[in-house]
Subunit: 477 residues, 2 copies
């Protein structure tokens, strides 16, 4: 049973979801730990997913007029301190550079935890007139936050992300861009990552340090916990006033710009794993699968088998990401490995298949096997990948629906979280005391006030006073 070795080493997700997750990221060779506490190596199989995420997302950004830039990784302490709420939010968790070469620095620098202050410092000089607006800039980079507890992709001291930073002439333009980017994120998650999301606004307690409003997309993982998957912030003119970013408007008066920022990170890879993965390992939506088709020769030492495998690869490689597993491992081992790594389709081809002019293809998500005539391979592969992408979204959506509950009072609320996991929709009066109480009693946080409000009750689930908003609550990563 050497063939099963790889798979047997994975903990079942039903036994211990956290251990299952750790096993998958390690066995699928997505990451490795390092001598640097809280920092990971993203290995080729993991980084290739990130490259595909970047390509899709960057193209969607550019369609909306985003331009990429690069700003320094260091922020002088005095710059970080210019916006009061912002520094309070971030100062406790930044890494400080105090020496350059052999000499102490006159002013210490933090390694960027996010770049609002740097963009403000830049925009202050770059923006003079209404003709310079809007600025719709983005950068792909890494940021550092000195987290105490870390987990691969979900929370690490350094992580990769994109951060968009925009400046606009009016409050309306800033709000429109904030919502536009949230929609870009939501569409990307659904159409590319096959992950359905709830779009909504964060409560004041949960919003970004320095923002007027934070919007979020929240996804539900397989274990019923929520994952904040992307956020878009409207800063109003708060940063502009703190940094003095003014422009001469058409009416010749000086006005402050209105700003936004929005970001998504490598934690999206964690989301993919936890939404789609199974006990065989990784399941990747075909659009971000580094290997969409893995051809596995059966009895590969028999004459013509390997050549046939290479021929099929050459036929497919113009339209798909394809490889042949021509190692000397057994077919069973190769099957397990292909499943562990989340290759979308496995193509089995051996002497008997060749004689019959067919091959067997196996879908990673359903593990369904289909016999395909060799001369129909291209169209069948395209069709299966397409179906798989769609059905993965549908399954994830169904799972979320099944794990979304409604509570109208604290007993119901408590009962749900004692016995189930998922999102709970409940009404809220809008005051932070109730939010705090709910967090204390149930160990759940408000995930968002969804754009699609439902009138499920008249009163706050906690205090019983008239409710203002329906809120999604959940335990979160």
């Amino acid at each position: 049973m050497a063939d099963k070795k790889m798979v047997e080493a994975i903990t079942s997700m039903d036994v211990d979801f956290a251990q299952w997750y750790t096993d998958v990221v390690k066995k699928a060779e997505l990451i490795d730990y390092t001598s640097v506490k809280g920092c990971m190596v993203i290995k080729p199989a993991g980084y290739a997913i990130w490259e595909l995420i970047q390509q899709h997302l960057d193209a969607r950004f550019k369609e909306t007029g985003v331009e990429n830039v690069y700003l320094p990784m260091f922020i002088p302490e005095s710059l970080l301190q210019k916006e009061k709420d912002h520094v309070e939010g971030f100062a406790p968790e930044v890494a400080w550079v105090t020496h350059g070469g052999l000499n102490p620095l006159q002013e210490r620098l933090c390694v960027r935890p996010t770049s609002e202050t740097l963009f403000c410092d830049f925009y202050k000089n770059d923006i003079q007139s209404y003709r310079d607006l809007p600025k719709v800039y983005n950068q792909w980079c890494s940021v550092v936050r000195w987290e105490k507890e870390t987990r691969p992709f979900l929370r690490s001291r350094e992580f990769l992300w994109q951060e968009g930073h925009t400046a606009h002439a009016t409050a309306e333009d800033a709000e429109a861009r904030t919502i536009q980017m949230l929609n870009v994120y939501a569409d990307f998650l659904e159409e590319v990552l096959a992950i359905p999301v709830v779009k909504g606004q964060k409560t004041d307690k949960e919003k970004f340090a320095g923002a007027v409003a934070t919007y979020t997309i929240e996804a539900l993982m397989h274990d019923g916990k929520a994952l904040q998957s992307g956020t878009s912030h409207n800063f109003g003119d708060g940063f502009a006033k703190a940094f003095g970013i003014q422009f001469a408007d058409k009416d010749n008066t000086l006005k402050y710009v209105h700003q936004t920022s929005w970001g998504m990170t490598t934690r999206l890879i964690g989301a993919i794993i936890m939404v789609h993965g199974d006990n065989e390992g990784l399941v990747l939506p075909p659009k971000v699968a580094p290997v969409q088709v893995c051809i596995i020769p059966i009895q590969q030492k028999k004459e013509g088998v390997l050549d046939k495998a290479y021929e099929l690869r050459d036929r497919l490689k113009g339209n798909f990401r394809v490889k042949v597993d021509d190692t000397d491992k057994s077919p069973g081992w190769k099957f397990s490995e292909a499943e562990m790594r989340g290759y979308s389709i496995r193509v089995e081809i051996g002497p008997k298949d060749m004689e019959a002019g067919k091959c067997v293809i196996c879908r990673r998500d359903t593990r369904e096997k289909i016999e395909v005539a060799l001369d129909e391979l291209e169209s069948k592969v395209a069709e299966v990948l397409d179906t798989m992408q769609k059905e993965m979204l549908e399954r994830a959506r169904a799972h979320r629906e099944e794990h979304t509950y409604t509570a109208t009072n604290m007993e119901e609320f408590q009962d749900i979280f004692n016995n189930k996991t998922g999102f709970v929709k409940a009404m809220w009066c809008g005051c932070q005391e109730c939010e705090d109480q709910i967090k204390e009693k149930l160990s759940v946080t408000s995930r968002c006030m969804p754009f699609e409000q439902e009138d499920i009750a008249a009163d706050c689930v906690c205090c019983g006073k008239p409710a203002k908003k329906m809120v999604y609550w959940g335990r979160a990563y």
Copy 2:
């Protein structure tokens, strides 16, 4: 003469090349200075060039089997110190993180100046058997070196680059990969950036800290100074021994791996500017020009002109990077701006052209104007871009030939550098004393021992003893 304002602000390159360079990077909006000393903002026009460089180079890497990864930006001090020569080379110029959040760190971390030590730490665990070899990994990231004097793109405290790090079973494999990547670099510079290079080996004095051999591509800038444009290092098994990176070979014995690393940086953008630029501004090789065609409507308020411009854009945009300058600036201003920013081709279209069924296209490098029938626009644009790309390389090569001299004794050697700028080929005995003397007397450094050796004299240009190598010497950025 408001139209000429942009151009008049540039210093002539013949008057003051350094100031011309600074003017171009600023006026073409490639970079901006920041509050962080020695660090730059790379603005959209500059970053777009870097994105094109990345696309071309990354595709060439992947063709040779390179896989991308991401390693942490921090290196624990103890890790940096494991290889003696390496730490001596880099410790004086690294930035040190001493605090994480509110607490001092137990061990300080440096921000990576390069990642050999991190890759070794990773490979030590990742490589067990000959089956795990070769490892051919690369990462795109930024690195930090605490430079005292900085210049946009050429030398800054933080810069963007790629760093390849490989591990091999044998010394021969490592040497072959070192040379292979140098050739990838050289071909890329010639074929994509239109910059001819001299390929060769660095002397021991100039080689990388910790390397057995450093190979380099050296390019000549318009002012006759050299720019080291890419390097490829063979480490032998030195790092492997320092870090204990061993593998079980086919013969069941434990062996040390042999390693290489190779890198190119955003200084390539500096090279493009200084090889191809002119007194009108930036000249970009079409393959890395973010705007290859800029359509400028003449009398754009006349009916149909703007529509025609958009129509031409739509016809071209499938095959070229194209934009219409439909701002309310005058055509003259737009021409100057298009030249300053290095747009490869400017297309002028006005009412008279439309009537005649033609337009005027103007090549950025030669500023030659050609009348083109509108129905031949696609093919003519393709042809002109292709010609431009080739002729830019030819001109750069001719310039380098004209500025490459030969010296057989110190008088000649001194005379050349007193009166001219460029490369000087001269024989060398191989001892560092002569290299030091030449540097002291002439303020030039050995650029490389070219692979294409010429036997220009029997004796060392400095000491007169029998020569071992012909060396390229020059003043360098």
